[in-house]
């Protein structure tokens, strides 16, 4: 179900950043009771392209990248994943729920196949969607969202076990603290500095801009909109190869882009981890001197790659 097709967004508090443009339209999609905030750039009559953001990001982190795709003739549709940005904070979060929410957004778009683009977790998400909804995809672009188990290959089995135990305990300890939990308030600069610890390669001015579109200003300061109960890590049976095994069977054209400079939020994936899984005819680009956020560090170059691939 689609509600609120009001154009534009209140730009009163938004800062500015060179090349950034807030979405042209915003609406809400009801995904099994969860309000998912959907944003769009570009002419509504242009062919749709869906793009999924990464974990702990939000749709308006695409405010520079998406307008470049829109200028290439696409109606770029993105959404805040549950608990992120302007979407509802949920009781529960899971990979399967994220896929279902994404499918609810896609169901509101014209029934013709369309490109799926995703960054990081969003890249993995669209890879799974490409398998679950093969009739809806015309091309897949994965931006540094190809997981690898490489990050822990130099850790002994015994030490890995100890790490997993610590992580499990830490996750449960975190769960014990969640009732009434709120994001810590601060100034724009303080919130940008905190985010900068996860995004050390990104321009501080960009991070400050993100505060103005991804946080809420309250009497005691700015707070990120993301659900304060979300936490990096966690434990579960998931393993990287389960995502990679979704890649070879994709029938639509595939392009994978990997940032070669390793950083905290990335998965440490190397080209040799990806190439064996690429479907026939797939295109693969490894970008030297670029980190995990390929589309934010090099929006022009990556947008051109995507537009050229989709053309």
């Amino acid at each position: 179900m689609v509600t609120d097709l009001s154009p534009g967004i209140d730009a009163q508090t938004a800062g500015s950043f060179p090349g950034a443009r807030r979405p042209d339209r915003r609406r809400t999609v009801d995904a099994a009771g969860i309000d998912i905030s959907v944003v769009e750039w570009g002419d509504i009559d242009h062919p749709a392209l869906v793009m999924a953001h990464g974990g702990f990001d939000f749709a308006e982190t695409l405010n520079v990248f998406a307008p470049k795709l829109a200028a290439g003739g696409w109606r770029v549709v993105s959404w805040d994943q549950r608990g992120h940005g302007d979407s509802a904070h949920a009781h529960l979060y899971s990979w399967e729920a994220d896929q279902r929410d994404a499918a609810a957004v896609i169901a509101t778009l014209p029934p013709t196949p369309m490109p799926f683009v995703g960054h990081s977790k969003g890249g993995s998400l669209v890879m799974h969607l490409a398998n679950a909804l093969p009739h809806r995809i015309s091309a897949l672009v994965n931006l540094d969202g190809l997981p690898s188990g490489r990050a822990m290959t130099d850790v002994s089995e015994h030490e890995r076990t100890r790490m997993l135990r610590r992580e499990m305990s830490a996750w449960l300890d975190h769960r014990r603290t969640l009732v009434g939990k709120q994001r810590k308030p601060g100034t724009i600069e303080e919130l940008a500095e905190r985010r900068g610890r996860m995004n050390p390669r990104l321009d501080p001015k960009w991070l400050q801009y993100l505060v103005t579109v991804g946080a809420t200003e309250l009497p005691d300061g700015w707070r990120w909109k993301i659900d304060p109960t979300l936490r990096m890590g966690g434990f579960g049976p998931w393993r990287p190869e389960w995502s990679m095994l979704r890649l070879p069977g994709i029938g639509a054209p595939v392009m994978g882009i990997l940032g070669m400079d390793l950083e905290l939020m990335g998965w440490g994936t190397r080209p040799e981890d990806v190439v064996p899984y690429l479907p026939p005819g797939a295109r693969f680009e490894a970008l030297n001197g670029v980190g995990h956020f390929v589309h934010i560090e090099q929006p022009r170059m990556v947008a051109d790659l995507v537009l050229e691939f989709l053309s």
């Binding site: 099994a32 529960l92 729920a97 969640l178």
Partner: protein, 218 residues
């Protein structure tokens, strides 16, 4: 809620913890199977001198039914951890899904879980050892009442690799001072149960034997 039912909070979910009988000593915590809830009374076959408690998992019985699904077995481990925070050390008798969650919490909190008896019940098998064909499951439309249809869908697809379960069995054994902190009483043996059954520190036998052993432990 009855007077014998208390409410615990796990993040945004209210959990119903039922007190089925009184007694002296360490409580026995019943964890129900997928789609079930805590029984009204202590099952006839069960003998335990301490209090007997029962937890309704998220989306089950009298606990909150979440909006929009998102279930994993791991999140239910947080439900049980909320009980441990409230009542301290327990012995666990888990049915089906509750048996699997019992294994995970025994590994996560070995100092507070004084033995888990794993028994047959709904949700024991889970969703196999690796992900199946991609699917975006939606429950049939209708009133949302417990058990949550999303729980039935998602937790019956919950992947349980044998080596994953095996790791948890090892954590439980390493972290506990009981000789056999896990006790397998299931007749049905999905691959994850087979994988833990042969681990050192995992006992096998009847439910009564398992409970008797844990009742005697400090």
């Amino acid at each position: 809620m009855t007077e014998r039912t208390s409410v615990l909070r796990h993040n945004r979910v209210d959990l119903a913890l039922h007190r089925l009988s009184e007694g002296e000593g360490r409580p026995l915590l019943l964890l129900h199977g997928l789609g079930e809830c805590t029984p009204e009374t202590v099952p006839d076959f069960l003998t335990w001198s301490g209090p007997v408690l029962g937890l309704d998992f998220t989306g089950h019985g009298r606990s909150t039914v979440p909006v929009g699904g998102g279930y994993t077995s791991e999140i239910l481990v947080g439900d049980v951890d909320a009980v441990l925070t409230e009542v301290g050390a327990v012995t666990i008798l888990g049915r089906g899904l509750g048996a699997y969650v019992g294994l995970l919490i025994a590994a996560a909190r070995p100092e507070l879980v004084r033995g888990v008896v794993l028994t047959d019940g709904p949700g024991l098998v889970g969703g196999g050892v690796h992900p199946g064909s991609p699917l975006l499951p939606y429950p049939a439309p209708g009133p949302v009442v417990p058990p949550d249809p999303f729980a039935l869908l998602e937790l019956s697809r919950d992947v349980r690799p044998p080596d994953y379960a095996q790791n948890y069995a090892r954590y439980a054994v390493e972290g506990s001072n009981l000789d056999e902190p896990l006790w397998v009483s299931t007749v049905v043996r999905p691959e994850w149960v087979v994988a833990i059954s042969d681990e050192p520190g995992v006992g096998r036998g009847s439910i009564s034997q398992g409970l008797l052993r844990y009742a005697a432990a400090d």
